[in-house]
Amino acid sequence: MTQPFFVVEDVCLKKDNRPILNHINLSLSEGQIHVLLGVNGSGKSSLAYTLMGCEGYTSESGRILLDGKDITHTRITERARMGISLAWQEPVRFEGLPIGKYIELGASESKREKVIAALEAVSLSPKKYAYRAADQTLSGGERKRVELAAIYAMQPRLAILDEPDSGIDALSITDIARLICEMAKHNSAVLLITHRPELVEMADSASLMCFGSIIFSGSPRETSQYYQNRCEPHLNILGSQPWQISLNNS
């Protein structure tokens, strides 16, 4: 694998005086698929927002580097134009905005073809969906597919996919896997937040987050095993929302 072009160094984030991200280090090379595991509330989405540059998610220390350039304090638009994009875990709806129009926003050229190819890549018929609005009338699964299609059409250098599989039925996991592979083949780096074994397997590397820290990094198999052996038993004891317990104790 080539040299990393995207490097996260010692990134920290606090919300309401509570640490959400602690000294995160991460690096990604072109075409690399890196999986991020971690229980609910461990900070995966917060890291995604911090890397994307969302308002209120500016790292308090450390740096985010793209091609060696410090982008820690650049805004979301600039980061997008430099090739970083995010597929949201719970994408918002847009009243009246046609899906085709939404998908073509990030595409740099031959937009029409890109829209058609992207919709087909997520198994949505372009005829049926391109002119339909990306609004409340879409099911959760449909909206998630549209989100993935938009990233696919954009072909970013770094695609951050926040649980792209949640809310999508099991059958289409293969669609998602194919789409991610294809993005990587076109040299996009993919930071993939997921728990689906089918998706974890296809990654090149993985990290495990716990209470805002990366506590383990390695091959997808090792990381997944660590997660199953160490985190899942805790989940069983503490319930599915362990961070609430820690809050009460603090």
């Binding site: 949201w88 009243e95 926003l105």
Partner: protein, 329 residues
């Protein structure tokens, strides 16, 4: 009302008015209309320029009557019982000079078991000081449905004052859908007032979309009385204001009968020094009725903005796109 005069201008527009009709059709197109519809014999049409009826064309089951008024026209539209009107009735109202007053007194009588759509365009493309008043009384018979879509174009000066007033009665099982839009050019002053009475099993849906700029003043007042059992209503208001424009929306829904259901949904997006207000008023006088409302007034949702910015749009472009999509859809 005096004796209605039946106009057949479609067939016999006098040469004196031919040029006027040509100009009106150009204005009609600016408001989003398609002049070709005025050439189709199977489409009922009415075109009024100032106080002149230039076109009035009936089709079987749809009758248009008109009568001159000072500064305007009295119009009466009758749809016979059981008539299912295939093509929307096309209406065009315009004032072409820079200044003028147009007063339209309109009566719509939709018989029982009828279905009809209206497509109305109001165009004042050159307006510097134009006043347009539309007083409509609409009666929708039992199990009938009427949809009324009205689009305005007021030019770029902001010198238009429009007063669309409607009183609508929907009989048992009837439906009324209204779509009102001013989304291009300036608004000027819009004082809109709709008053709806819905009987048993009736349905009313009012959608209003306005984009105000400059010193435009927008006032939307809608009152719905759900008087019949199982009557339903929905008001959906989408307004964007920028510069120093003002928008005031008051929607009142009364649930006065068992199983009456009303919902009011208002979004107003505010930029620059613009002002927006929303007063949803709920009155329920029957314990089995329910009226709900939702409103979002102010800036564009941050998450919506960031989603578009993550595709490379800057903040201004993202706001524009969100507003245009919301208003134009």
């Amino acid at each position: 009302m005096g004796n209605p005069i039946k106009s057949h201008a479609f067939e016999q527009t006098s040469p004196a008015w031919a040029g006027e009709l040509q100009s009106l059709m150009e204005a009609y197109q600016q408001a989003g209309g398609d002049p070709a519809s005025f050439q189709m014999p199977e489409v009922a049409t009415l075109a009024v320029s100032g106080d002149q009826v230039l076109v009035s064309h009936d089709i079987p089951g749809v009758h248009l009557y008109s009568q001159p008024l000072e500064h305007g026209v009295r119009v009466s539209v009758v749809v016979d019982d059981g008539t299912l009107v295939k093509h929307p009735v096309h209406l065009c109202f315009g004032v072409l000079p820079m200044e003028g007053i147009q007063r339209i007194e309109a009566d719509y009588q939709i018989g029982n078991g009828a279905q009809v759509q209206f497509l109305a365009h109001c165009s004042f493309p050159n307006a510097v000081r134009v006043e347009h008043r539309m007083n409509a009384r609409i009666h929708i018979g039992r199990n009938s449905s009427m949809s009324y879509k009205e689009e305005h174009y007021h030019g770029l000066e902001g010198g238009v004052e429009v007063y669309p007033y409607s009183e609508v009665t929907i009989e048992e099982g009837g439906q009324f859908t209204s779509n009102f839009a001013i989304t291009r050019g300036r608004v000027g002053t819009l004082m809109m007032n709709y008053h709806i009475e819905a009987q048993k099993d009736a349905l009313a849906e009012l959608v209003t979309k306005v984009f105000g700029s400059g010193d435009d003043h927008i006032r939307v007042e809608e009152t719905i009385h759900l008087n019949g059992e199982n009557a339903h209503s929905m008001t959906k208001t989408r307004i964007a204001v920028k510069d120093k424009a003002i928008s005031e929306v008051t929607t009142i829904t009364e649930g006065n009968a068992p199983r009456a259901r009303g919902h009011m949904d208002c979004t107003e997006i505010v930029r620059d020094q613009a002002l927006a207000a929303n007063n949803p008023i709920v009155k329920v006088s029957n314990a089995q009725a329910q009226v709900t409302h939702e409103a979002a007034i102010g800036t564009v949702n941050r998450r919506e903005l960031e989603t578009l910015m993550a595709r490379g749009l800057d903040e201004e472009e993202a706001v524009d796109l969100i507003i245009r999509a919301m208003i134009r859809s």
